[in-house]
């Protein structure tokens, strides 16, 4: 860009750097599956969907906790399930060499999936 595009704004470099990180995350987060990387591309897609479902389950669980209707025993069981689910996801991410940032898909005009 030839002209300064900041009409008004912060001089806080941390803020601007964070925005640049976001931009590079957007380019990195497009799905790129081709004949050479079909395994990792597919793993990324599947794990992204699993992560989305896991987060939805977690949010639903938090709503139930917030509702205050769960007994101590139910909270224990819920905690155990969610913790194991999260640990399993961590294992899978490690196995396929994926980071949290990888497990998000940029849907163009709709923004990020998560």
């Amino acid at each position: 860009m030839k002209e300064n595009k900041i009409l008004y704004g912060t001089e806080d470099m941390e803020v601007l750097t964070a925005q640049l990180d976001t931009l590079s995350a957007i380019t990195d987060s497009r799905l790129n599956v081709n004949a050479d990387n079909v395994d990792s591309g597919l793993a990324k897609l599947v794990l992204t969907l699993v992560e989305l479902i896991r987060k939805l389950i977690e949010k639903q669980a938090m709503r139930r906790v917030e509702g205050g209707t769960l007994t101590d025993e139910e909270i224990e069981r819920l905690g155990e399930t969610l913790m194991k689910l999260e640990n399993k996801m961590e294992e899978l991410k490690k196995y396929f060499n994926l980071s949290d940032r990888d497990l998000n898909i940029n849907l163009g005009p709709l923004g990020d999936l998560m």
């Binding site: 008004y8 704004g9 912060t10 806080d12 906790v65 224990e76 969610l82």
Partner: protein, 243 residues
């Protein structure tokens, strides 16, 4: 060889002739010559391009955006997504013809207007208080599973509180900007300390008024950092799927 489309513009023939004669000194990516394909009063600004894989990378994205920007100073335009390639001028002509009504309607919508970006950040993550957990607090006697749930619940409450704060901010900003006759499109916040993220479409001559409005808003909110950018081509206000 393919044709890379930069933007679709609405212009009288003479202005585009100037463009094609390079009186205005704009070149496409890799210094390629620009040309224009027209149907009625709409023109697709194009240059030659290799295939998608060899040229459609991050290195050329900025060059591409710079061309769009230069054009936006001279014409009302619809910016094309980087990497919009067609095989020939004839194919482009077909697209213009087939989508003429939709393209014209979009051009009318953005005529004389520019896009601006407004992002708001918290100075610190502490400015929005997270409610205390009243009923179930972490205690030494809790099991690892219960503490796990409590931590997650704290994160959940913090997210919900931030969401409520963002919604209130949206309303407040909308009220301030209302008088500028702007179209506001709120996007998802980008994470971290970002609490508001929107793009606005308004008349080019209202730029100073918008800047002043943001300065006023900033003076009410010392705890926030506001960043206004623009003017941009109307990237987020084109509602068209080319057939």
């Amino acid at each position: 060889m393919h044709k890379l489309i930069y933007a679709i513009i609405h212009a009288k023939k003479e202005s585009v002739c100037r463009l094609m004669n390079f009186d205005i000194g704009i070149q496409g990516i890799k210094g390629r010559e620009l040309s224009a394909v027209s149907f009625n009063d709409i023109w697709a600004v194009v240059s030659d391009a290799e295939n998608k894989d060899s040229e459609m990378n991050n290195d050329y994205a900025l060059e591409f955006a710079a061309v769009t920007e230069e054009l936006s100073h001279m014409f009302t335009l619809l910016p094309m997504r980087f990497g919009s390639l067609l095989k020939s001028d004839a194919e482009i002509l077909k697209v213009l013809e087939k989508n003429y009504d939709a393209i014209r309607n979009n051009l009318i919508k953005v005529e004389g207007k520019s896009e601006y970006g407004l992002k708001v950040f918290r100075n610190s993550s502490d400015i929005i208080p997270v409610p205390e957990l009243a009923e179930v607090k972490q205690a030494e006697g809790n099991s690892v599973y219960k503490n796990y749930i409590l931590n997650k619940f704290n994160e959940y409450r913090a997210d919900e509180t931030l969401l409520e704060y963002s919604e209130e901010l949206k309303t407040e900003i909308a009220e301030h900007i209302l008088g500028l006759n702007a179209v506001i499109k709120c996007n998802k916040v980008t994470g971290g300390n970002n609490v508001y993220n929107a793009v606005l479409l308004l008349e080019k001559e209202m730029t100073d008024n918008l800047t002043q409005t943001v300065i006023n808003l900033q003076s009410f909110h010392k705890e926030l950092n506001m960043m206004l950018t623009g003017p941009w081509a109307p990237y987020n206000f084109v509602d068209i799927t080319l057939k």
